[in-house]
């Protein structure tokens, strides 16, 4: 059963250890958790992945994106949360 990520303010998210990503033409190409799986991350997604090197709360990530892309944290919250759900669903990040 898949556990839904919790986005309450205290929960942090961090990359799973052992995943490897390489930059190609400004895009991050990343090994997946399963053999033969690869993911490409660019723009905001690549930037979020960089930030996920350390444990971050959803709110911290929204603030970082808002700052980098000159938008309000409110405007990007839904996208950030959806992205975290996607990464968690693929076992690429873990919750702490």
């Amino acid at each position: 059963m898949t556990e839904q990520p919790d986005h309450s303010s205290a929960t942090t998210f961090v990359r799973r250890p052992g995943l490897h990503a390489v930059e190609m033409d400004g895009e991050l190409v990343m090994m997946g958790h399963e053999q033969g799986e690869y993911y490409g991350l660019k723009d905001v997604a690549a930037s979020l992945w960089e930030h996920l090197a350390e444990p971050r709360t959803a709110e911290e990530l929204c603030a970082l994106v808002a700052d980098e892309y000159d938008v309000t944290a409110d405007a990007c919250r839904a996208d950030v949360v959806a992205f975290l759900d996607e990464l968690a669903g693929k076992d690429l990040i873990e919750r702490r």
């Binding site: 052992g18 490897h20 895009e27 190409v29 053999q35 690869y38 490409g40």
Partner: protein, 313 residues
């Protein structure tokens, strides 16, 4: 009793082989192995037991366990590659020696170069000044026919079919021959009767090639040969994930890219190639054999400014 051995240069290595390797040109003699700094790979005959029960089975009769890579080809031979330095061949008594050699110089040497930490591409390399280009594509895409056309124009073809690229992004020259189907040989104006077949009862021939260059060269361009139903021949740049997808697809025997450490190294090597070279798709009309037009388009893309080249076929 001494066993005859022959010595050949290939991919920057000295092959010290008990199996005759006629495709690799004349025997250089034992002195080749005495050169200071020579990296020697031994090729020996020996009895092999096939895949150990504990090894990871991979497709195509391949298996891997630690630093050992095996290949079992029923009716021909079993092969073992160890630590990027040693190859053992256990050929069946009635096997066609050319077929034994075909697998040895193809899958087995490709696997060895992968063990030595290279990105091994399925394609041909040719020299462009002090750098080189590699043309990759699926089997039957026209890679070797194109290589023969480039050779005919006086360019140095560095490797056919298996192109190892080292960690610094240099492509390594391989065997001095191109494998061509009979119709492609005839189109070059060469009589196939004078050439050796790659294997018994196969209408594919070894075309020996002359070249003036045998040193590694930085890989600057990768062209992926593709076909489409239209009439135009286009060259378009790839980027990011698409680049990786193309490099992965055209990695020689990419079934071997398996297991965490190997997958990680392969991804790294692809990143190093992507950082140093320009990767493009060459889309050609499926209905026409267009080796000449393709050679024109690729050479003008290399010479010309960046951007999409369009030429009618």
């Amino acid at each position: 009793m001494t066993i005859d051995r022959s010595f050949h240069h290939c991919y920057g290595l000295v092959l010290d082989s008990e199996l005759p390797l006629l495709d690799l040109g004349p025997d250089l003699g034992p002195a080749a192995a005495q050169t200071p700094g020579a990296e020697i790979v031994t090729i020996r005959r020996g009895a092999l037991d096939g895949r150990p029960a504990s090894a990871d089975p991979l497709p195509l009769g391949l298996w891997r366990e630690g630093d050992r890579l095996g290949l079992d080809v029923p009716g021909t031979a079993s092969y073992l590659v160890r630590g990027g330095r040693e190859i053992v061949v256990d050929a069946e008594a009635d096997a066609d020696p050319r077929t034994v050699r075909l697998f040895l110089l193809g899958t087995v040497m490709g696997g060895l170069m992968m063990q030595r930490g290279h990105l091994v591409l399925h394609g041909n390399a040719f020299r462009v000044g002090d750098a080189c280009a590699v043309v990759v594509g699926r089997s039957g895409a026209g890679k070797s026919t194109l290589a023969a056309e480039l050779q005919r124009r006086g360019l140095d073809v560095l490797a056919d079919d298996v192109v190892p690229v080292d960690r610094d992004g240099n492509a390594l020259p391989g065997y001095p021959r191109i494998k061509l189907w009979e119709d492609a040989v005839t189109r070059l104006g060469v009589d196939p009767a004078g050439l050796e077949r790659v294997a018994q009862a196969v209408d594919k021939f070894q075309l020996p090639i002359e070249r003036t260059w045998t040193e590694p060269l930085p890989l600057r361009w990768v062209y992926v040969l593709e076909r489409h139903e239209g009439d135009d021949l286009t060259i378009t740049r790839a980027g990011g994930m698409e680049t990786f997808g193309l490099l992965h697809e055209h990695t020689y025997r990419n079934e071997l890219v398996h297991g965490d450490a190997v997958v990680r190294e392969h991804l790294d090597l692809c990143g190093r190639v992507a950082a140093r070279s320009r990767i493009s798709r060459v889309t050609r009309p499926a209905r026409l054999m267009t080796a000449e037009a393709t050679a024109d388009a690729i050479l003008s893309d290399i010479a010309g400014p960046a951007g999409t080249v369009q030429e009618s076929a």
